[in-house]
């Protein structure tokens, strides 16, 4: 696996190939997605560079999971373009994108229930980028299971796993594809604080091994510590992008993500005597 990998980002200039032409690994250009005419993602422009670890946050219904669906190909685009390594992948079926190195996890875990944990992961190695033979795929699966801490449960049937282990399995299956770009859709939701810490450590390790990671998370603290850069989605549009501290301080982000009420409270706590937004009717919904 390691031969494919690039050095951990940090210094972008290390990436020799892209020196004069900093081509992003993933690029969304004016991407929109409508469900029955209702916009889920609106005119989104967004790019991820090689070796980055980027967080995507936003309140429920902001379009985060839709965006993952668009990038992985499980949802067709309404308009716009998605480029991967400079290649237009907008119309490629999901399996072709997987072969190009894009792997995803599912927010609602979807294990192949009747199969063992090892078989679940093995399928990723069988049909992934390298398309291994069965023996090699089994070995690759075992290595991945070791890595995510599921080795002891390799013989378990997938539907016998706990929530935390199912999340691990989602991750393991994605890793078995040997991705270049990993899309993580709320892999930490529903985990205990200890398990969240383990998950963060694991994602860090995966990133350090050279995989570009896109993390969607609802849990703020988790994503703040993990991401080098954060993009905030609100009602399908990008409302902020930048380093975590900067994004967290953004007034629009605070309003959108934490609600107007929180923003107001924070303002009054800051002792701002200036006019506080007056929208009493909407207060409960904030």
């Amino acid at each position: 696996m390691s031969d494919v990998l690039l050095p951990p980002m940090a210094s972008e200039s290390v990436d020799a190939g892209s020196q004069h032409e900093p081509q992003p690994l993933l690029e969304l250009r004016g991407v929109s997605k409508f469900f029955d005419g209702l916009p889920a993602v609106k005119q989104l422009d967004f790019a991820v560079r090689h070796g980055e670890i980027v967080g995507i946050i936003g309140p429920n219904g902001a379009g985060k999971t839709t965006m993952i669906g668009l990038v992985s190909g499980s949802l067709p685009l309404s308009s716009g373009q998605i480029r991967y390594r400079g290649l237009d992948i907008s119309r490629l079926p999901p399996h072709r994108r997987a072969h190009l190195g894009i792997a995803r996890t599912f927010q609602v875990t979807q294990p192949f229930k009747g199969l063992s944990v090892r078989e679940n992961v093995m399928i990723g190695a069988l049909f992934g980028r390298r398309g291994l033979k069965q023996t090699a795929a089994r070995e690759a699966a075992d290595a991945v299971l070791e890595r995510v801490g599921l080795a002891a449960k390799a013989h378990f049937r997938a539907d016998q796993l706990t929530v935390a282990d199912r999340k691990r399995l989602e991750l393991a299956r994605a890793l078995a594809l040997e991705p270049e770009l990993l899309l993580l859709d709320e892999v930490m939701a529903g985990l205990t604080p200890t398990e969240v810490e383990q998950a963060i450590a694991l994602i860090r390790a995966i990133h350090a091994s050279g995989v570009t990671v896109l993390v969607i998370e609802h849990v703020m603290q988790a994503i703040m510590g993990l991401s080098q850069r954060i993009m905030v989605l609100h009602q399908g549009s990008k409302i902020a992008e930048g380093p975590p501290e900067q994004v967290l301080a953004d007034q629009r982000v605070i309003e959108a993500y934490l609600g107007e009420r929180y923003a107001r409270e924070q303002q009054s706590r800051l002792g701002a005597a200036r006019s506080v937004p007056q929208k009493d009717g909407k207060e409960e919904q904030g």
Partner: protein, 360 residues
Amino acid sequence: MFGSWHKPSTSSTAATTEPGAEQQTAQPKPGTRWPWSLLTGLIILALAALIPLSGDAATLHTWTLILMFAVLAQSWNFLGGFTGYASFGNVFFFGVGAYSTGLLILSGRPFWLGVLAGAVVAGLLAFLLGLPVLRLRGHYFAIATLGIAEATRELVAIRNLGGSGGEVELPLPALSDTTFYFLFWLLALACFLLTAYLARSKPGYALIAIRESEETAEAMGIPTYWYKIGAFVLSAVPTALAGGLYAYWSTGFDPPTVFDVGISVEMVLLTVLGGAGTLLGPLISAILFELLSFQFQISGSAFHNSLLGLTIAMVTIFIPQGLVGLVQEFLRPLAPGMSRRQLLVEGVRRVRRVIAANGV
């Protein structure tokens, strides 16, 4: 019923009772079950090869039909069982095989050419029909396949294919009944070996992954659409071969016989009763169910269909995993060091638990 036939056979039980003790030992050990299933199936087929020795024409006739249904059910299993796409129109391919054979024999060609032509035509049709139809999921796919078979039956009758109303009269076959029996036997064996291959191979994993979660399968790099079409073709070819053999063997048929929706339903039932997606399920249930069916027919024809229906209802309610699922539950490896008696008691207990869990 159709939603639940892939219900994991142990999910309700292993998760709830004594998780510690049982989970350590109850995991299916890949690689231990398959060779036994394969061996059992081969022994069953080897025993079936002895039937002609009985010299009884009626027994031979019954068993010829049993083997034919074993072929049909096993073929249906490729798509319906492994891939999870329940076709209710697979009889279409049976009819295509029968008519190809019948028409070619009538035009003076040898029967084997007709049978092979039927298989090729059925394979091509499965491919072409699969292109649009396999974009549908669940019930829509089932209804579409049903529609194709029904429409074809009407069309064949209206166009007077082979004769007035689509009736085909063939000359008496040059082959003996025993030869027919062994042709069906070979076909059943081939289907069984193909199933055994699928249960263990890369394409087989692709089909199972599609059944378990098509979206995930696609995300994991599986070209699901083409695998589904492949499974449809795989399901069509042996069905058409059986149809061709049946046509020559029966010396005459009409559209209502070889495009009978009842045959489609029987393919579904046999597979589900035996255990969809399993190696032994369709084979075993074809034998048990058809024997039972003939028994009912002999003992009291008035109640034949009611009794069959009742049996089907009972089985689908209480053991939707199929007979094989129940046996596997019984034989599931347990903690080492248990005596035979303890194993038996424990096995019976677990089987009862499965039945209760499904029925209540």
